[in-house]
Symmetry: C2
Subunit: 246 residues, 2 copies
């Protein structure tokens, strides 16, 4: 079933006029018909089953017919912080991170970032938020991840997170669990966790010491060198494995 | 340090003429100089440190100066089987899976594949093998993953694997570890594991029953719906988490 998000409270029995983007997608792209069913997520992140009651051009109305007991969110609220990287990497970090359960993605310039956003930032964030929305629809999320631009790491220091990590080679002792595993074991449902990932050049020594001074723990992600866009996906998959599979 | 693979045995003290692709990359792309160091992996998958001894146009010679105790391979030998998918998805499945430690990637047509390779297969595999090589160089692997095309799933049934999985929604009982975790716990260092991933359309019921008849176990990958190119990356990250981080 198709899966859409609306920014309003929903209740069973309610009849609503769908916003234009959803109406157009159902009516024009999918050529849906009266009586067709789809999933609709309301303001409270709860999933309902809806049925099309009326189709007039670009205006589609639907009835909320039942509540679906679906929650696909990670038990931990994960924020990914990514140093500005080249090309379309930010787009697919957002797309893949959304499929993998991220709640919040922050992009910011870091010492070794080759690209700058500056004035382009607002436009980029708008575009990346659209990517997050369509990925959240495709992966049937209960929440659409938010995407944000910060001017630098220091803006991050004052934010409130239960667990703070930076992806970096750690001095792992033989037989000891890695800091990532230890960190996840500290969390409980609803805990917030942030992880910082460097750009192509990596995280600079100055940035590392600044992060460590502000309570960030160095967390290794296995022995292989991963590209800047791959590391956050490994990280999110690891969180899911440790909290949803085990 | 740069990291290259040569298809010959290496020993300390040995002096070798580097193949043209490596010579060109060092000499023309990186403008390396005599005395520069780099990593060279020989036939036995062992990593050595080498030093450039001579640069003549496109011909670079180097001395093997020391053995490096580096092994970044997953303890389990993982084969990813991917139903033919559209666009450049195969390319980046190979690239990312290589970064994440895969040993062997197989592409094959499945019931719900929209694309066909047929005559194009040989050319595609050549290109995908180049992608695997450069990703293996970037992620400093000990082994370059192999890429292969099979005409269908049945060709897979007669291959020898210790653990066989197909990525599919499983009927997970509350509080029970998932089949993926159980499967990894069954493995020991050197065990071989294969996992089948459907194309955009997914795995057909006929394919599922055929796979199950041949010893494949349904393994869920968490509650979120992932795209065909994302699921193998989640899978490899999960294997790494369970065998390298815990």
């Amino acid at each position: 079933m198709q899966h859409y998000f609306v920014d309003q409270p929903l209740t069973i029995g309610q009849s609503i006029d769908l916003p234009q983007n959803i109406s157009r997608h159902l009516g024009k792209v999918l050529r849906a018909e009266v009586g067709d069913h789809f999933e609709l997520v309301g303001q409270n992140h709860h999933v309902y089953e809806a049925q099309i009651s009326r189709l007039l051009g670009n205006q589609v109305a639907a009835d909320i017919i039942k509540s679906l007991d679906k929650n696909v969110e990670l038990p931990v609220n994960v924020t990914i912080v990514s140093g500005l990287s080249k090309g379309n990497k930010p787009e697919w970090i957002v797309q893949k991170a959304t499929e993998l359960g991220v709640l919040h993605v922050i992009f910011l310039p870091m010492d070794w970032s080759i690209v700058k956003w500056d004035q382009k930032a607002a436009k980029k964030i708008t575009r990346l938020s659209e990517v997050a929305l369509s990925a959240a629809e495709q992966s049937h999320r209960n929440v659409v991840p938010t995407v944000e631009y910060l001017s630098g790491l220091t803006e991050l220091y004052h934010r409130d997170f239960d667990v703070r990590l930076v992806a970096y080679e750690e001095s792992a002792k033989r037989g000891e669990e890695t800091n990532l595993v230890k960190a996840v074991r500290q969390t409980t449902t609803g805990s917030s966790m942030v992880a910082v990932f460097g750009p192509e050049g990596g995280v600079s020594p100055v940035e590392i010491s600044g992060l460590v001074d502000h309570g960030f723990v160095l967390a290794g992600l296995g022995p292989r060198i991963m590209r800047t866009e791959t590391a956050p996906l490994y990280f999110l998959s690891a969180i899911s494995t440790l909290t949803e599979l085990i």
